[in-house]
């Protein structure tokens, strides 16, 4: 199933990009926020009750203002959501709860490696992301933004993905 989707994708991507690149990024931003509602992080990751919930963006910032608009004044279990941008793999990335790795970022595999065992939900729209043991991947199907999930990878990191999310997503088997 996953391979079929992957093969179809390149052809589908062109019109989406042309028609409304910004619209796609807007939807991605919303989805990133929505993941906070359908994924459960272990409780111990926060230092205290007011510690922020961090959504990190590694590499090029493709969201522009959208992500900040979406998360503005939103919380996850009382933890205010903040967005942090990383240009390279730094020590700070393991402080994120969600890390979006832009497809233009060349060292996605290294980034994932460095987060191994850490409760960080890794997300990308890169085609090869799943092969690098990434957890969540955006792709386009039928003009719509779809999600692919590597459930085993998320479980290994101590993340609990809601069955509702699993149902609407494509499951990736290692």
């Amino acid at each position: 199933m996953a391979t079929v989707v992957l093969m179809v994708l390149p052809g589908m991507r062109a019109p989406f990009q042309e028609a409304s690149e910004s619209k796609a990024n807007q939807v991605k931003a919303v989805f990133l926020y929505n993941f906070t509602q359908f994924v459960v992080w272990p409780q111990h990751i926060f230092d205290n009750e007011t510690s922020p919930f961090v959504i990190g963006v590694l590499g090029e910032d493709t969201f522009g203002p959208y992500l900040n608009e979406v998360i503005e004044s939103e919380e996850v279990d009382g933890h205010p959501i903040v967005v942090r941008h990383y240009k390279s793999i730094t020590a700070g990335i393991d402080q994120c709860q969600i890390l979006f790795i832009d497809s233009s970022f060349p060292a996605a595999r290294q980034a994932i490696e460095s987060l191994k065992g850490k409760p960080v939900l890794t997300v990308s729209d890169s085609q090869n992301f799943m092969r690098h043991a990434g957890m969540l991947r955006f792709y386009i199907e039928g003009g719509k933004l779809r999600i692919e999930i590597n459930q085993e990878a998320s479980q290994r990191s101590g993340l609990e993905v809601s069955s509702k999310l699993l149902r609407i997503a494509t499951l990736y088997k290692e």
Binding site: V27, F31, N34, Q37, F38, K144, L145, R146, I147, S162, K164, L165, R167, I168, A169
Partner: protein, 480 residues
């Protein structure tokens, strides 16, 4: 068939059956109302639960823009046959997914979407809005529309059970009332049939059997008591009647005996009076004939007075004898020509009263009667009429008849001195005279005799008169 004319038996049966049917009907109706109300409440809760399940399962689909998944979840509603339509709206109120897939768009609401739990009944449908919430975040709203067929099915099931129960109850009530009404209708019926026997056969000896100590029992007692009282009183009345009859018989017998004795007495007295009178009359005649020339004028007058009074006494005795003889005389009835009789009597009498009266004899109908007796009647009445009108300038006597009450009424009318109705009672008595002997001679027996004859003929006699204006004597005789 008017209810109030029905026998009590049927009345009671109808009352019981109608009452039980009405009670059942009202019970069922109230249960039905209760059922409908609770069903609606329960159904609303059920539908909310269903809506909550569906909406909970649709959160991811809404959050990650996956209408296909939403459609799949909504498709599960197929299992619930009463769900007419369902729709999922996103946060902006735009239609996200609907069920059934081919359900026409304009029938699901587009503008009146509400983001709070709400329900309403609309054209026999139940509509529910249930917000789609994930972690306290409202992602959209779920619209659910169900028909109320389940309720109608329930109501119709209920109605058919009710109809069956009422029908069965009606039958049971019929048999029950048939049995139970007897305790009332039987004693009443017994009472009625007794009353019937009493009124139809006049049998007061019947009694009704008492069945209980209720009002009917009391009525029965009172009725029986009344009957026995009537019976006792009847017996008493009968006893009195018998006694009375016996007394009357005794008195009649006594009276008849006394009458006979009296008649025998007066007959013998009259008869025995005749012999000395004959001597007085005979020797008075001899005295006048042989020694008249020896007497002076005064002596002659005295002798004439003796002779006249002797004659008068003889007449009196004759009349009395005739009167008393009537008592024993048998009435021999033959057809009589009354017109001829009246004419003959008048012809005999007219000389005696100066032949000066104008007489008018109308045709008189024939009658059955004793000829000599009725001749005496006519003679008395006509001679009276002639006698008492004689002193008039133009005496008129009219004899006539008419029919009345199945009998003939004959009358003799004159324009003579008449009489005062005040003394009417004395008119037909023996020796009763309304006028002086010096004015009108007579013995006072005539009308008494007439009265007796007419009575013997089962007729009636009466008179009308006024002083100095004449008198009319009527007598009626039955036509047999």
């Amino acid at each position: 068939m008017v209810f109030r004319n029905l026998p009590i038996r049927k009345k009671i049966r109808w009352i019981i059956m109608l009452t039980s049917a009405a009670v059942l009907l009202f019970t069922f109706l109230s249960y039905l109302v209760y059922e409908v109300v609770t069903f609606r409440q329960t159904y609303v809760q059920q539908l909310y639960t269903l809506a909550r399940i569906i909406s909970t399962n649709c959160t991811a689909a809404l959050a990650f823009d996956n209408p296909d998944d939403a459609a799949e979840v909504l498709g599960a509603l197929k299992a619930e046959k009463h769900i007419v339509a369902a729709a999922l709206y996103d946060k902006q109120g735009n239609l996200f997914s609907k069920y059934p897939q081919d359900y026409s768009l304009h029938t699901v609401p587009q503008d009146q979407v509400q983001f709070q739990e709400d329900h309403r009944f609309e054209e026999s449908h139940l509509i529910i809005f249930e917000p789609v919430v994930q972690n306290n975040k409202t992602l959209g709203v779920f619209y659910l529309k169900s028909d109320m067929d389940a309720m109608y099915e329930r109501i119709s099931l209920y109605a058919s059970i009710a109809a069956a129960v009422i029908a069965i109850s009606f039958v049971v009530a019929y048999f029950l009332s048939n049995r139970l009404q007897r305790s009332i209708s039987r004693p009443v019926h017994a009472l009625t049939s007794t009353a019937k026997t009493v009124s139809e056969k006049k049998d007061y000896s019947v009694r009704t059997t008492k069945t209980g100590n209720d009002e009917i029992g009391y009525l029965t007692d009172a009725f029986n008591q009344m009957l026995s009282e009537i019976q006792t009183q009847n017996a008493q009345i009968q006893l009195f009647n018998q006694k009375l009859e016996l007394t009357i018989e005794q008195r009649t017998h006594d009276l008849a005996t006394a009458n006979k004795e009296l008649e025998a007495f007066s007959y013998s007295v009259s008869h025995d009076l005749r012999a000395p009178l004959r001597s007085i009359n005979g020797y008075s005649g001899i005295l006048m004939e042989d020694y008249g020339h020896l007497l002076d004028e005064e002596g002659i007058q005295a002798l004439k007075s003796i002779m006249r009074n002797g004659m008068r006494m003889g007449q009196l005795i004759d009349d009395l004898l005739a009167f008393s003889r009537l008592g024993k005389q048998h009435v021999a009835k033959f057809n009589l020509n009354m017109t001829a009789l009246a004419k003959a009597v008048y012809d005999d009498l007219k000389e005696q009263y100066g032949n000066k009266s104008e007489i008018l004899i109308n045709p008189l109908p024939e009658i059955k009667g004793d000829s000599s007796m009725l001749r005496q009647v006519m003679q008395n009445l006509i001679s009276n009429a002639l006698k008492y009108s004689m002193k008039r300038d133009k005496p008129v006597v009219e004899i006539g008849a008419y029919r009345e009450n199945g009998g003939n009424v004959y009358y003799v009318k004159d324009n003579g001195v008449g009489f005062n109705m005040q003394y009417y009672d004395k008119l037909f008595g023996v020796f009763q005279r309304l006028h002086n002997v010096t004015d009108f001679e007579g013995t006072g027996v005539g009308l008494a005799l007439v009265h007796r004859i007419i009575t013997k003929h089962d007729g009636r006699i009466w008179a009308e008169g006024k002083e100095n204006e004449g008198a009319t004597f009527y007598f009626s005789l039955p036509v047999t």
